[in-house]
Amino acid sequence: MTASLGKHAWVLGLLVLFLVLIGLTKLVQPSFSLAGIESLTRAALPFAFATAGMAVVVIVGGIDLSVASMMAVCAVTAAVLMERMAGVPAILIVLAVGLGMGLINGVLIVLTKVPDIVATLAMLFVWEGTALLILNTPGGATADWVEAGIRGSFLIGWFPKALVVLVVGIALVWVPLRRSKLGLSIYATGSDETAAFRSGVPVGRTKIIAYGICGLYCAMGGLSLAALTGIGEPVPGPYLLASVAAVVLGGVVLGGGKGGLLGPIIAVFILRIIRSILTFLSVDPNVTTIIEGVIMVAVVMLGAALTHRGTRK
């Protein structure tokens, strides 16, 4: 009871923090308005998808260090394909590529019994190299409507389209999964692999599927990255560190079994809005990096001290 209360309290606390930060932004930059929120959401899109993918594998008890590289592969694939063919089949192919890469990660981890962190570290190099093979220098192009798909507002005048894309993209995969037997298996495997195995959970298959979903989210992240920039960039961005930070800040315990996707995604927005507040205050971007790091470490320390449980496995 208290544990579930604690979990919701964490997410609620994050939400309150986010609203406070929006208020703060309005204070330091009076011209900050709905347009500002729209561009904030758009910039947060790749981070949010990377974080969602990372959250799923952390919940299953693993970690995927190759998220940024997989996003790079998906972004260049999207840019190369859209130059040559229609947008919709290209998007479907990219999603399939992402799912495939994630499944490969999962199969390798389960088959070789190499620790997740080492296996995905190796795959980080593999996917990074693959991205360079597909496109050696930034290039390609994205269809105009894809770019328009995340820009501007949706139906009513103020609702950012990017938020719709984010919510639909994540919920379409996660909500049915969370409510199915598979979702339960994911949490069971993350809590205690041996106990889950002895209760008849197909542990290996669950892990592989979790990594596959991570790959799928990375494909969405790569697509949004390509849509944001209009080209494909083969060099992985700073998404690994940011996604791990947001996952921990969002209340998912490293080691697995606890947390959801809502907390981490709110955490992404908190981290992004802190960056824009610092930009509005015209803080040196390098100092911004320091402040972000300090905030990340401080929040994680606070979380560890508050919960009083060892977060280590």
């Binding site: 970690i63 390798l108 070789t112 019994k113 190499v114 620790p115 962190i117 080492v118 296996a119 570290l121 190796a122 795959m123 980080l124 190099f125 593999v126 996917w127 990074e128 190299g129 693959t130 991205a131 360079l132 093979l133 597909i134 050696n136 083969p234 560190l241 791990v244 930070a245 921990v248 490293l254 080691g255 040196d284 390098n286 100092v287 911004t288 990096t289 320091i290 402040i291 972000e292 790091g293 300090v294 990340m296 470490v297 994680v300 320390m301 560890a304 001290a305 060892g310 977060t311 280590r312 496995k313």
Partner: protein, 335 residues
């Protein structure tokens, strides 16, 4: 563990290898060197292409020279992995130390610059230790975070000293690029260093505490180990080693930059893991990590020689790390 004669030979072989993890690693290293010689006759044994010498001391020296900074950073990973931790700030600490040393030595002289560079490593290490040992943050997150902070500090610092210019102390470039008796000078620093690390792990109370904390933290604590003191000392030592590695690497590359040693970070984790150190704590050997670093360097040379496009080289590098680790896990049955 009882060995009976009824065990299948493969299992017995695996068990023997687990007890002596160095044997398969050294064999693999030699196999790679032989493969390299086959691919490019004369690179290792000049006599085959009509030049002098059975073994090229130049090639061996070069291999060792570039493996040393990697092996030193791998020491950070081995020591922290013994307690089920990891030090992902090591690469950035090495970069910071090198950059600080290069910029300050033209202003304040070499000795203070080196001391300040080592001190920065120590400071980052102590912060890591406090986070891991007292506040109990996961080491992965803690060291990623301090690495991020250190990167930001380095960029701000670079703006402040941009006009001062940088110079690499001659003593460091002597250490990094000079040779004595055919072997790189760095080796004469590295041999005492590695003996120290192995002695620390095997024969001191501190080393035994690391193994104890990694094997079973609760049992170690109940036996009266003050874990936070051990963690602070461990991460401080790791930071210091990383800074030292950065100084040596500066001597080799002789060109300070803002991302000098960062590309060495992930290979240092790979070297430790290939060397038989368990990422879950309680088992590890530094000698294995040294061989692991040599293996990675030989692989790197081989992939460069094959003149593959950069992407294929990076991808193959990753696949080989995975394959070696998987093979190792399969043979020894350890994780």
């Amino acid at each position: 563990m009882s060995t009976t004669d009824t065990d299948p030979p493969l299992l017995r072989l695996g068990r023997a290898m687990r007890d002596n993890p160095l044997i398969p690693l050294v064999l693999f290293l030699f196999a790679l060197v032989v493969l390299l010689e086959v691919l490019r006759p004369g690179i290792v044994m000049p006599i085959r292409s009509g030049r002098d010498g059975l073994i090229s001391t130049f090639w061996v020296g070069n291999l060792i020279k570039f493996a040393i900074p990697l092996a030193m950073l791998a020491a950070c990973q081995v020591l922290t992995m013994l307690t089920a931790g990891i030090d992902l700030s090591a690469g950035i600490v090495a970069t910071v130390a090198a950059f600080v040393c290069a910029t300050l030595s033209s202003i304040w002289g070499v000795a203070p610059a080196v001391l300040i560079a080592l001190a920065t490593g120590l400071v980052v290490g102590v912060v890591n230790g406090v986070g891991v040992g007292i506040v109990r943050v996961h080491p992965l997150i803690m060291t990623l975070g301090t690495g991020l902070i250190a990167t930001g500090c380095l960029q701000v610092y670079q703006r402040l000293v941009i006009n001062a210019g940088a110079e690499v102390p001659t003593f460091l470039s002597w250490l990094g690029t000079g040779r004595t008796l055919g072997m790189p000078n760095g080796l004469y620093l590295f041999v005492p260093f590695s003996v120290f690390v192995i002695w620390l792990m095997r024969y001191t109370g501190f080393g035994r505490l690391l193994f104890a904390l990694g094997s079973n933290e609760n049992a170690a604590k109940l036996s009266g180990v003050r874990s936070w003191q051990v963690y602070i000392a461990l991460y401080a030592l790791s930071g210091l080693i990383a800074a030292l590695a950065g100084l040596l690497y500066l001597g080799i590359i002789r060109q300070p930059s803002l991302s000098l040693a960062n590309p060495l970070l992930l290979p240092s984790v790979a070297a430790a893991v290939i060397g038989g150190t368990s990422i879950f704590g309680g088992r590890g050997s530094y000698a294995g990590a040294i061989v692991g670093a040599l293996i990675l360097r030989v692989l790197d040379t081989m992939l460069t020689l094959l003149q593959m496009p950069e992407g294929a080289r990076t991808a193959l590098f990753g696949l080989i790390i995975l394959a070696v680790t998987a093979l190792y896990v399969r043979i020894t049955g350890a994780r």
